[in-house]
């Protein structure tokens, strides 16, 4: 018995050994061949490893690499991949794209390795049932720091979606930071500046639609890509390799949008999309890069629930709007004389607006029996009058990528005059890294919001030296108008270093200010706003250098594709420093998508010292 067993083991040993020798020989041959073909320098291999410009991989997970040096040595990773995929054929199921790529690019490789059945991978592919890929952009959302610039993810559609619709049933793949338990300030910090691991995940598209269209009320743009069936196959094969693989998540550069560009580079060999995004990747700009690379086939606009509601409200007269609003709060309004006096078609529309408004109000609230009953009541009215239903949808506005580019250079010439000082001519050169201010060309940008980050202005005054005029860190504002239906608060926050005339000198001061208030529509697109403000300022010209001020601002804002206008009066009273009042009038005329001409007049009063500045600037977006 023992003898038999020993013999048996010996046979096994021999068998293993011989096959090992055979493979090792073959493996060495293939590795040499890969070296002589210089395969590790191939664009596709470098994209597969997600190498940055220095040749180091963005992947921050050793599980992704088959060689211990894989993160920084693509040659070693290639050699290790050849050996490991042959010695451990089951690895094909973890690395479907790597396996396929080697089979296609390393002659003899596919003869050696045994093709495996990959049940998990195949069932995932079956579930996605992908025939085409769509890049989805959820528009900018100021109320959420991570989404201020928008968000992108991919959707995979079955063939039937093209001719029959039903994209709600498709799958979406998202790259996001992964949060583990707890809560606190560190979440905000880590989310913005890194520290969270980022992973790809998948989920049904309708959940995304619910999140964006209903809960966040963000418009969604669907960019159908023209990837071929084979390119789609490559994309998914590679995506599978990234399942549970960690990338460090950074808000500014290595974010959701950047990772998607990398995937598209893998899918279409030879495309370079990521090279312009080494500092930061604004989702909108990544859509533009995709468009420039010729990847976009067509675009579908998906208005948010709020946008649809606004559109429906606008179809009603003022009196009907009032009825719809009252009906959303009070069932009995349905039986009122005014409402029953409407045509049946209008009764339907009032019920529809009322229902949509009630749901809008309760989007983020937990269930309430009374509201639920009321909602159903309104639905029944819609159903009753549904023969008059005509589902009209808002028309497609200008696409986000049709707006001005996100960086700006500004050349300004002007004259500045202060009490007791001769008027001085000056020229400014300003750079701004992102994104959109109230006066910038409004085409394709959201109205009534401002989001500016990272700006610097240099000023040269006649007969003086060059000086730093402004260093802007962040400037965010939302001046959305209130109406019967919508009651948003207006707000602004600003943090920067700027020149302030202080007792006869233009001091460089650091300040942070913010305000809260209301905006009301005046006429057509003209808005009026008023904000209560607070300010903290470090000013070397003050006796008490760090000073606090309370104040207010009020103004008018008109944004139109043919030109934008803003007038603002502002007052601050410092605890120790001066009483500061400022009036500013500005107008920008768009010359073309990426060009604008701006005039601005500012009058500043520090107690009784007056300073005025008038300027003309040319702004170039790029």
């Amino acid at each position: 018995m023992l003898f038999f067993l020993r013999n048996y083991l010996f046979v096994i040993f021999l068998f293993c050994f011989s096959s090992l020798v055979f493979s090792n020989d073959k493996i060495t041959t293939l590795q040499n061949l890969a070296n002589s073909l210089n395969l590790s320098q191939a664009h596709a291999w470098r994209r597969l490893l997600h190498l940055d410009e220095s040749g180091k991989s963005y992947v921050d997970d050793k599980n992704y690499f088959l060689s211990p040096e894989g993160k920084s040595q693509p040659e070693q990773e290639l050699l290790a991949s050849i050996a490991e995929l042959i010695n451990n054929p089951e690895l094909q199921c973890r690395y479907p794209w790597r396996s396929r790529w080697l089979s296609e690019n390393l002659p003899g490789f596919s003869d050696v390795f045994e093709r495996q059945d990959c049940e998990e991978y195949d069932s995932w592919r079956g579930r996605l049932n992908a025939n085409s890929v769509t890049l989805v952009l959820a528009a900018s959302y100021l109320n959420s720091p991570s989404s201020m610039y928008g968000h992108t993810f991919l959707r995979f559609d079955a063939k039937s979606v093209d001719d029959q619709g039903g994209a709600l049933g498709s799958y979406a793949v998202n790259f996001a930071a992964f949060i583990e338990g707890g809560a606190g300030f560190s979440y905000a910090y880590k989310g913005l500046f890194g520290g969270y691991p980022g992973y790809f995940s998948d989920g049904p598209y309708y959940k995304k639609v619910k999140e964006y269209s209903r809960l966040d009320n963000r418009d969604v743009w669907e960019y159908r890509l023209n990837l071929s069936t084979d390119e789609t196959d490559i994309l998914l094969a590679h995506l599978w390799e990234l399942n549970k693989i960690k990338f460090d998540y950074y808000f500014f550069d290595e974010n959701c949008s950047f990772r998607l560009l990398e995937l598209l580079e893998v899918a279409r060999d030879g495309t370079t999309l990521t090279e312009d995004f080494d500092v930061y990747a604004i989702p909108l700009d990544t859509v533009r890069a995709t468009e420039r690379a010729g990847l976009i086939e067509r675009v579908v606009y998906r208005p948010s629930n709020r946008r649809k509601l606004e559109f429906n409200i606008a179809l009603l007269t003022k009196d009907e709007q009032k009825l719809a609003w009252r009906l959303a709060l009070e069932k009995d309004v349905w039986d009122s004389e005014e409402l029953q006096g409407l045509s049946e078609k209008k009764r339907y529309k009032v019920a529809e607006v009322s229902y949509q408004y009630l749901r809008y109000l309760n989007n983020r609230r937990s269930r309430n029996q009374k509201i639920a009953n009321h909602s159903l009541f309104l639905l029944r009215k819609m159903q009753e009058y549904s023969e008059y239903a005509q589902q009209e949808l808002p028309s497609t506005p200008a696409r986000p990528e049709q707006g001005h580019d996100t960086r700006a250079l500004t050349f300004t010439a002007g004259v500045e005059g202060a009490a007791g000082i001769d008027a001085a001519e000056f020229v400014d050169l300003a750079f701004r890294s992102a994104y959109h201010g109230f006066l910038d060309n409004i085409l394709a940008y959201p109205h009534s919001t401002e989001l500016i980050m990272g700006g610097v202005t240099l000023r040269y005054k006649k007969d003086q030296h060059l000086q730093l005029q402004n260093l802007s860190i962040v400037e965010i504002a939302s001046l959305n108008a209130r109406s019967r239906f919508f009651k948003p608060l207006s707000w602004r926050v600003r943090g920067d270093v700027e020149r302030q005339w202080t007792y006869g000198d233009d001091e460089l001061v650091a300040k942070f200010d913010g305000g809260v208030g209301w905006t009301m529509p005046v006429f057509a697109d003209l808005l009026a706003y008023a904000l209560a403000q607070a300010r903290i300022e470090y000013n070397p010209g003050f006796e008490q250098e760090l000073d606090l001020a309370l104040g207010a601002s009020t103004g008018l804002l008109l944004q139109h594709v043919s030109g934008s206008f803003m007038l603002e009066a502002q007052q601050y009273r410092f605890t120790d420093g001066p009483d500061r009042r400022q009036l500013q009038i500005s107008y920008q005329l768009p010359l073309a998508k990426n060009h604008g001409l701006r005039v601005q007049y500012t009058r500043l009063l520090n107690d009784d010292d007056a300073v005025t500045e008038s300027s003309l600037s040319y702004r170039f977006y790029y």
């Binding site: 959420s144 949060i179 809560a183 995940s201 049904p204 749901r359 983020r364 639920a372 549904s386």
Partner: protein
């Protein structure tokens, strides 16, 4: 077939309860009509990172990924729209007689293009049977839809 669907629905609901209590912030199936969204904490966290608090993987088999993989029910091998996630929109579509969600449901149930108008019309006319009270759950709604379809000559074949 009706029983199968309901059984599937409950299976999905119980599978999902591994990871998250039924009716939790991300777990849809089983919700009542007009459920509302009470995931304030989730939204606050997610707002800073585009983040996710669930398992960040490609949900493979039910059970491993809790609610996010149970979001679809298997119906004839195809994924089916989880109505509870879109009940507000779905009920509105049924009241109107048309819309994206009702179309998507028809497609996910395998209703052929030529029968979709009938599908929408039948559901629309039977609004009161499908939504008898504001307390119906997604399972109730699904069961009534199957009933309504079974009564219709053109649609019965999809649920038998």
């Amino acid at each position: 077939m009706k029983r199968t669907i309901i059984a599937l629905a409950f299976t999905a609901a119980s599978v999902s309860s591994f990871a998250e209590a039924p009716g939790g912030a991300n777990c849809g199936w089983g919700n009542m009509l007009f459920q509302g969204q009470s995931g304030v904490l989730y939204h606050t966290l997610a707002s800073f990172t585009n983040g996710t608090t669930g398992n960040a993987t490609f949900g493979m088999t039910s059970g491993t990924n809790g609610c996010s993989s149970a979001g679809t029910l298997s119906y004839g091998g195809k994924g089916m729209i989880d109505l509870s996630a879109l009940m507000d929109e779905f009920s509105e579509d049924v009241a109107r007689g048309d819309g994206e969600v009702i179309s998507a449901l028809a497609i996910s149930m395998g209703v052929e293009a030529q029968d979709r108008a009938a599908f929408k019309a039948e559901l629309h006319e039977n609004f009161d049977a499908i939504f008898p009270t504001a307390d119906v759950t997604a399972e109730d709604v699904m069961a009534s839809i199957v009933d309504v379809m079974a009564q219709d000559d053109a649609l019965a074949k999809y649920v038998s």
